[in-house]
Symmetry: C3
Subunit: 210 residues, 3 copies
């Protein structure tokens, strides 16, 4: 399997995870109809990759390749019809969200590196790809984005670790395939552990403890 | 009259309608001065087309062609000075908004098709062009976007119908001119009917009725 | 010193000012941890220039040139560790914000002019560059952007004056260097005077006085 195919498959799994996550979040937090659910699912799934491609100066893959839109639509539609079963389960939403975050962080960094950007930019773009879709989702739902809230435990940090690992490995010349998988697993594991053990990043000095 | 000229004229009418709509919405819902009114008018008028062009990978027409900025400024300025007469009339705002939505949905889809994108992408881009400006307007005014709210009746759906009709017609080889007008009228009619008869899209299963 | 170098230096000073401004605003108005502080600092610092470059159709300088990211990170990190000393001082935030606004308005207009855009577009792009980062900051913090609020005194207007002066001077053939400095000082002075003397732009006719 070529690297290109592997990236596409991981990317589509991330799209599916974020589409389900975005749709369920919409149903849980706002009075939305089917159009709102599908819109938020698609925006959450495709937003991060679209911002990434705009910043990289390439036409967004989400619009050039119909498989992205179809995968996002499938995930959002499934979430809509299964919402009654899924909506009271908050944990699956968090797991889907962590999966999307991990895959997008690693893929965003890889795409930037392959286009010739440096490791610093690649890491930042990986984080933006990972948190971008969820941030647009939260802005549209009129709430403070999960990436900023001190109550959501570590969120950008795991993406930073996963994307940074990929960027450093690529820069020192390691081959891509397995590093990407390790980077995604690192991000996924740190995110879930931070939820489980309620890890928090340091607050500003003098601020009241969280 | 060439297709290019027809697109430009329809596009500028849409810009004017959305500029008036955005400015009046700003005056009605927030404490804004003239700068805020003009800003929101321009953003509502040019936002959808700008997002469309960024996603299509072309330099936004709104910045290449001064007629867009001037039309948006004119509409916003007129709305500012006539606000006392217009601001208590909620219905004209809805009609201007429906007109902008219809024209932008059709033009967005057309532009995508002419640049070689498939019917699925063209339909989605048409919807994004139609609802984009109003969504930015609502995000800036710190409220849930009209496109997501279950209380605003059908909004994305008419745009989907209009853009979809254009995309399908183009794909099966029908000529553009009349189809675009029919698509815009279809969107406009469905939007106004949905307001008149309080049509709603289905809610998620198990959710309380709207 | 070449014009290119002068632009870079002024741009980086603007980035530093906005990074400090964005981070301190985050600490003052929301419960954020170090990741949220750094994110908001970077977004405020790099947001305006990124939007400008996307609208101009060029790959954002903020991602091509590592000095932008590093400067933004430095400013945000300094603000985080010095927040206890700085956070109760609201005036420095306003001064940093005014400095960033002025530099970005002038540089945004200049970049647009050099890429061949007309004076109207250059002025508008200057304003967007100046107010863009702060607007994204306020949207992420879930509050009405400072540029729209009638309580924040003149904000877009000084940027309009500074960018407009540069655009008109360039169009009539004046050399760039000093005009840019004068334009930035004009914006900075008008912004601070408007804060000092509580200048406000006109409200819509019939609206209650502010």
């Amino acid at each position: 399997m070529s690297t290109q195919t592997l990236i596409l498959i991981l990317d589509l799994i991330g799209v599916l995870a974020f589409a389900i996550d975005g749709s369920l979040t919409a149903i849980r937090t706002a009075r939305v109809d089917i159009v709102g659910v599908l819109t938020l699912g698609i925006v959450t799934a495709l937003g991060g990759g679209t911002i990434r491609d705009l910043l990289l100066g390439v036409t967004p893959a989400t619009f050039q390749d119909w498989r992205y839109i179809c995968t996002a639509l499938m995930g959002a539609t499934a979430a809509f019809f299964l919402s009654r079963q899924l909506t009271h389960l908050t944990k699956p939403i968090l797991v889907f969200d962590a999966a999307g975050l991990s895959l997008f962080a690693v893929i965003g960094a890889t795409k930037a590196l392959e286009l010739g950007f440096g490791p610093l930019q690649a890491t930042l773009l990986g984080v933006i790809t990972g948190v971008g879709g969820g941030t647009i989702r939260d802005v549209l739902l009129n709430r403070v984005p999960i990436v900023l809230s001190a109550n959501s435990h570590l969120y950008a940090t795991p993406a930073l670790l996963g994307a940074g690992l990929v960027a450093i490995s690529y820069t020192v010349g390691l081959t891509w395939g397995w590093i990407a998988v390790v980077g995604a697993l690192l991000c996924f594991t740190v995110r879930l552990l931070s939820l489980l053990y309620r890890w928090s990043a340091p607050s500003p000095p003098g601020a009241p403890p969280l």
